[in-house]
């Protein structure tokens, strides 16, 4: 069996049509750990607090939906 590990390069190359610089920048933000400024960190804090509320809000709605289904 051949050795499959390859830490030197990304193995799954994105295919498809070319992507715009804006998309590239967004993907870089999603992909790599980029040093952030304090204000940027605050924005991310708000984002993740909002995502927490969103996730539990959806779960809460599932409970309400099931309650309605029961009735």
């Amino acid at each position: 069996m051949e050795f499959v590990r390859d830490d030197t390069a990304v193995a799954w190359v994105p295919h498809g049509r070319g992507i715009s610089p804006a998309q590239r920048a967004f993907m870089d933000r999603l992909t790599y750990a980029v040093p952030r400024r304090p204000l940027e960190d605050t924005m991310y804090d708000l984002l993740y607090i909002g995502l927490t509320i969103l996730a539990f809000g959806v779960l809460w709605l599932i409970v309400k939906g099931v309650e309605r289904f029961e009735r």
Partner: protein, 557 residues
Amino acid sequence: MSSATAGWLQFALLFVALAACYIPLGNYIAKIFTTDRDWKVERFIYRLMGIDSKADQKWSTYVKSILAFSAISVLFLYGIERLQHFLLLSEGMPNVPPDTAWNTAASFVTNTNWQNYAGESTMGYLTQMTGLTVQQFMSAAVGIVVAIAMIRGFTRHHTDKLGNFWVDVTRCVFRLLIPLAIVGGLILIAGGSIMNFHPYETYTTLSGAHQTIPGGPVGSMEIIKDMGNNGGGFFNTNSAHPFENPNPFTNWFTIFILLLIPFATPRAFGKMVKDNRQGYALLAVMVIIWMLAVGGISFFEAHYAIGGATAAKLAHGATEGVETRFGAPGCSLFAASTTVTSTGAVNCFHDSLTPFGGGIALFDIALGEIAPGGVGAGMYGILILAIVTVFVAGLMVGRTPEYLGKKIRPTEMKYAALYFLTLPVVILTAAGLSIGTATGQRQIFNPGPHGLTEVVYAFASMANNNGSAFAGLGSGSMWYQTLGGFVMLFGRFAPEIFALGLAGSLARQREPVPLGPGTIDTRTPLFVGMVVAVILILVGLTYFPALALGPIAEGLH
């Protein structure tokens, strides 16, 4: 003594020790949740929080209490991580970055303990103790009390009340988890796990290099990490680190403690439904699947050399990524036990398991925490699969399916179907998004089938609250951190909503259905075999495409 013999001895000793604890611990768990008497410390907490300990909740109130408690826990833990630099005992660590902090908060509150960070270089002592370790207690307690509420669905009639979440969780922490953690923690510390508040020390090695030796309150975290099926270690290398898991005895004890509560819970179930043979039947299902997992992984790790790999032949097994103190058998037993429970602690590198060995670990996780599963989660998971089995068997003989005197009607089956379908939907959607988008693909560092296995394993592990990883995936990126956080939250709480909804539906049924000639006896070896078959077929069919294109394709290559 050969390493294989040592491995089998470890397994035999484990089997005997778990069997010895089954009845006393199971009876004790049942007593905790059936007695009317509150301890003084519990009464104090109820008064402090304004809880009426005698007021039971209906299923939806019970589950809303869980959601509210968990949402606040996520935000509280996120806050500790983001402010740790300004808190005591930070050991100079900077604040945790927002995406890592959120992923970690979701991870520890959901009992997953997926770690996108190295503990010794990211988290200060206070964060480890008051943030992560506290959640390791609380998330384990939440899992256990959901199982207890589910069991009450079978024992109660003509009511919509399943118990009081706040009372159950308080009792679980004070009467079960803390006492066991104190005893187990002292055993681990006596065995060599470190427990101190020493600052990190730097030494010069013989070759002139500098090496930093960390300290920390490891023993107290290590015990609940394993006993609560959490899995999140103090150090990056988890149970392969000598400060967490110093020797073969602590390694054996760690495996024992992570299986202890899940394997004792069927006894508590049998005790609560007043038919211990029902507990034995479910225990048999769990033991069969656990033994298949241990045997399978051990076989492939030990016989890797069959194909002619000389190095593996000389080393008596596949030893890449294996901690030499424990060897391939110690790794295999640990890997199987940590993936059939929702623990996720590791003492070897799962990414280095042989393709079929790793495939079994992935399949274990995909089973959905049922053999014996996570603390509590295993119990409610296998109860739902027992209901599915009764339904299938009822269809085969043309009778209305019944289980423990409860009719399994379309309503119950809808809950069971929703429960079972939630995890595959969450896992395969997240994996599909990661594989099908350029952003997700960029973090896959291994080609072909192995890369696919890593992605599927990651989301299966997160959704099933396991937390172990095939580490060749760049899951520290914002994409995987954020998506992973959602996967963990929905993978944990959505099935709990459906499990408790099902329990509420069962509890509302009026009188127990009397046993008749057409009733399937759910205490027999036949039923045990049927449950095992239903589990393996359902999970196998659900994940077969992913398994075929991942570990099976790699193994046959």
